[in-house]
């Protein structure tokens, strides 16, 4: 018991000052002719807390995750973190139409391709 008490006290001594470690969220990335679709696991991130920035071919996803406990900590396997991941994005993403949805701690990010980079079927005309 004494160990556990000590852990709890330690937490109290270093309140907001402790820097949350930066963590890379796990992602799945898919692509079809129309878009690039990215899913990122970020449990505990509220949708208002997430910052997505697409600029100069760099996509940055950033979000703090705060876990509010209660009472004495018994064991901890996850904690406060700063999720951050940067991707370089291929040319031809229509930045105005990027769409982000956050559901059950999973970010879905739709990056639509602009018309110019979509593959085009060229009909062969009969000579």
């Amino acid at each position: 018991m004494s160990d556990q008490t000590e852990v709890a006290k330690r937490e109290e001594q270093t309140p907001a000052g402790r820097m949350a470690p930066t963590v890379i969220p796990s992602v799945d990335i898919y692509e079809n002719d129309d878009e690039i679709l990215l899913f990122a696991d970020m449990p505990g991130v509220a949708k208002d807390a997430i910052a997505i920035n697409l600029e100069n071919g760099r996509l940055t996803i950033k979000a703090p995750r705060l876990i509010a406990g209660e009472g004495e900590l018994q064991f901890e396997e996850f904690g406060d973190v700063e999720y951050e991941r940067v991707f370089s994005v291929p040319q031809g993403i229509d930045t105005d139409k990027v769409e982000a949805v956050m559901e059950n701690g999973v970010l879905s990010l739709h990056l639509p391709k602009s018309e110019t980079v979509k593959p085009r079927q060229i009909p062969v005309q009969a000579g």
Binding site: I24, I29, D41, P43, L73, E76, N104, G105
Partner: protein, 152 residues
């Protein structure tokens, strides 16, 4: 556990290196490379949900990270001081898409059981799911509560 965070960082830092190396194999989409070198990643070592447990005198509080799960996909069983959580993520890859990077584990199933430090009154347990975090408020059974004895 004085250096808890550091310990984790070391363990997962190593995991990260490994993952980076393994990543070499599936770097198919070279235009879409993430920039590595951020301090520490925290990949799931297994697919067991990461869980925290707190003791707040009259109840225990359990938090588990279950990203992508709906509330109907999680089962919780409690008997005395034994708790079992299980769940499955019914996620399908989107149809007609090519996959460039798959780190999230796709469809997953987990089952995790814990022995709690106190008997729980299972009729008063409250469970909430928000932003991919499952929170269980587990009121202690009367017999397990700490009693303060006033000296008369």
């Amino acid at each position: 556990m004085p250096a808890r965070w550091n310990d984790f960082d070391q363990i997962f830092g190593a995991m990260d290196l490994l993952r980076n190396r393994m990543g070499m194999v599936n770097r198919l989409f070279s235009d879409f490379e993430p920039q590595w070198g951020l301090s520490s990643s925290w990949p799931a070592v297994s697919n067991l949900p990461r869980t925290n447990l707190y003791d707040a005198d009259d109840h225990l509080l359990l938090k588990a990270a279950v990203p992508g799960l709906d509330k109907d996909e999680i089962n919780i069983k409690i008997q005395g001081n034994y708790l079992e959580m299980s769940g499955s993520r019914q996620e399908k890859a989107p149809e007609g898409y090519a996959a460039h990077r798959l780190e999230r584990g796709g469809e997953t199933f987990f089952s995790r059981s814990l022995t709690l430090p106190a008997e729980i009154d299972s009729t008063k347990v409250e469970a909430k799911l928000k932003d991919g975090i499952l929170t269980l408020r587990l009121p202690k059974a009367e017999s397990a509560k700490t009693k303060r004895i006033t000296i008369s």
